[in-house]
Amino acid sequence: MPKFDVTRPRQTITAGLILVMVISQGVFIPAWAGEDLLSLADPPAGWTVAEPPRGAQGHELFTVINGGAELYVRLGFARAVFASYQNPAGKSINLEIYQMNSPKLAQEVYTRKVGDKGQPADFGAAALFEDYYLNFYKGPYQVTISGYDTDKQTVEGIFTLAGLVDRRLPNP
C-alpha cells in the first residue's frame, strides 16, 4: 500500500473528500442509544411505572402516536420517550418527552401545542398547565405530562413529575 504523504495535494484532497463522504453517510453519527432519554422517565415518589418507558425516533413516531407525529416530524424531530405511571389510588399520568433538532424547534412545537387558556407554570423555559395536562420546553426538549381527570392527586402528580423531569433535563 503506498504511503500517505500530506505534502502531496492530490492525496490530501482525496482523503478529505473520502472523509466528507463517510460523514455524510452517517457513519460517524451514533446509532440512537435511548438509555439517556429513558432515564429521564423514572417515576416520581409515590408512583409506579404502569407502562415501561418506550422510545421512538424519526418516522417511527407515526407508529406510536399516529397523526400526532406530523407536527414533530415536519419541524425536525430526533427522538422521544413515552411512559405511564400509576399511584396506589389508581390515578394515572402519562409522560412524553420529545427531543427536537434544536431549542428553537422545541419552542416552536410548544407554542403550537399549547392553547390560549391555562396557567403558566415554573418549569423549563416556559410552561403552561391546562386542566389535566402540562406542556413545557427546555433546550431542545418539549415535554407533555397528562392525566385522566382534574383531581388534586392527578394534578399534584403532574406537577411533581414535571419538576423531576425539568431537573433531569440538561441545562441549555
Binding site: 399516529n66 397523526g67 406530523e70 416530524v73 415536519r74 405511564s84 400509576q86 389508581g90 401545542k113 389535566y132
Partner: protein, 313 residues
C-alpha cells in the same frame, strides 16, 4: 327510566298498526323511514345525555332497535373500538366499551373479538372494567392476520390490507369517539375504519395524494380514501362516544375538552358522523369524508330525513 321489553315493543307496534313484524328483519326495515320508526318508538339515531355512560349506551342501542336487532344468539361479533390513544378525550371511554360487550354477551354472542386491540392500560381507567374483568377476559384479541383486498367502487383506494377478522364476524360494531382531528377536522365512525388497516395501507391515505407533501398534505385525498375504505364492510351498528372529547390536537391529544356527555347510537356511519360532527360545531358537508361516503350510498347525511331521538337520563 322505563325499559322497553321485546314483548311490549311488539304489542305496542301491532297496536299502532304500523307494520306486521317478523323480528329483527322487520326492525331493520324501518330504518330510514321516520314515520314508521316513530310509530314503533324507534330512531335512526339516538343520543342519550347523562353521566352514566353505561346506561346511556344501553338506552341509545335500545332506541335504534335493541341489541337483538343487531346481534343474534350464536353470532361472532367484531368490535372496532377507537382505543389506541392514551390521552383523555382521545379514545372511547372504557365504560362505553364494557357496556357494548355486555350487551353482545346478553344477546347470546358466541364470540366477541376486538378488530383492533385496545392500548395497554386502557381498562385501567374504568371502574366498570374492574367490575366486569372476568367477562372482559373472554373477549378475544385481534388475530393479527391481514387480507389484501380490492375495493370495488373505490375512487382512490383501489386496494387495501384489512384485518382478516372483519370478514370472520357475523356482526360488526363500530365504536368510535367524536373528536377533533388536525387533518380532517373531525374524526368519528367513518375515520375509525382506518383502525382495521396496517400502517402501510394508512400511509397511502396520508402520503398518496398529489398536493403538498405531509401527513395531512392532501385532505381531499385522505377523505376520499376514508370514504372508499368504508365500502369494504358497513357496520351493523355504530356507537359513538360524544361524552368528553378533545377539541384540539386530535387525534392524539391532549387538548381542550368539550363535554357534550352523550352516547350516540346509529344504524350507519354516515348518519352518525353527520350528527356528531355538528356537536363539535361542524356542518356535515364540510367534513369531506361524509359527503364522499354518502355518495357511495353508505348512509344519509341529510339529518332532516332521519328520525333522531335525543333524551336525557
Amino acid at each position: 327510566m322505563k325499559k322497553l321489553s321485546r314483548r311490549s315493543f311488539l304489542k305496542k307496534t301491532a297496536a299502532a298498526g304500523a307494520v306486521t313484524l317478523a323480528g329483527e328483519k322487520a326492525i331493520r326495515s324501518l330504518w330510514g323511514r321516520p314515520a314508521l320508526l316513530q310509530a314503533a318508538g324507534l330512531s335512526d339515531i339516538a343520543a342519550v345525555k347523562g353521566r352514566d355512560y353505561s346506561a346511556g349506551t344501553r338506552l341509545a342501542v335500545e332506541k335504534v332497535g335493541g341489541i337483538q336487532a343487531f346481534v343474534r344468539a350464536g353470532d361472532r361479533v367484531g368490535l372496532l373500538v377507537n382505543s389506541p390513544f392514551k390521552n383523555f378525550g382521545a379514545s372511547v371511554n372504557p365504560d362505553i366499551t364494557v357496556a357494548v360487550i355486555k350487551l353482545c354477551a346478553e344477546a347470546g354472542a358466541r364470540e366477541i373479538r376486538y378488530l383492533k386491540d385496545p392500548h395497554k392500560g386502557y381498562w385501567g381507567r374504568s371502574d366498570a372494567a374492574a367490575k366486569h374483568s372476568e367477562e372482559l377476559k373472554l373477549v378475544k384479541y385481534e388475530s393479527g392476520n391481514r387480507r389484501e383486498i380490492e375495493i370495488a367502487g373505490a375512487v382512490k383506494l383501489k386496494d387495501a390490507k384489512v384485518t382478516e377478522d372483519l370478514f370472520d364476524c357475523d356482526t360488526f360494531i363500530n365504536v368510535s369517539i367524536a373528536k377533533h382531528h388536525k387533518g380532517v377536522h373531525f374524526s368519528g365512525s367513518l375515520k375509525n375504519m382506518m383502525g382495521l388497516c396496517p400502517f402501510s395501507t394508512n400511509s397511502y391515505f396520508h402520503f398518496g395524494g398529489e398536493l403538498e407533501f405531509g401527513f395531512y398534505g392532501d385532505v381531499d385525498h385522505l377523505s376520499q380514501c376514508i370514504a372508499d375504505l368504508n365500502l369494504v364492510r358497513k357496520p351493523d351498528l355504530c356507537i359513538a362516544d360524544a361524552t368528553v372529547v378533545i377539541t384540539e390536537n386530535g387525534p392524539y391529544g391532549p387538548g381542550s375538552l368539550f363535554k357534550p356527555q352523550r352516547v350516540v347510537a346509529a344504524t350507519n356511519a354516515v348518519s352518525m358522523d353527520a350528527y356528531c360532527c355538528r356537536l363539535l360545531g361542524h356542518q356535515p358537508v364540510d367534513i369531506l369524508a361524509i359527503p364522499k361516503a354518502a355518495k357511495h350510498n353508505l348512509g344519509s347525511m341529510d339529518l332532516d330525513q332521519l328520525r333522531i331521538s335525543e333524551v336525557e337520563l
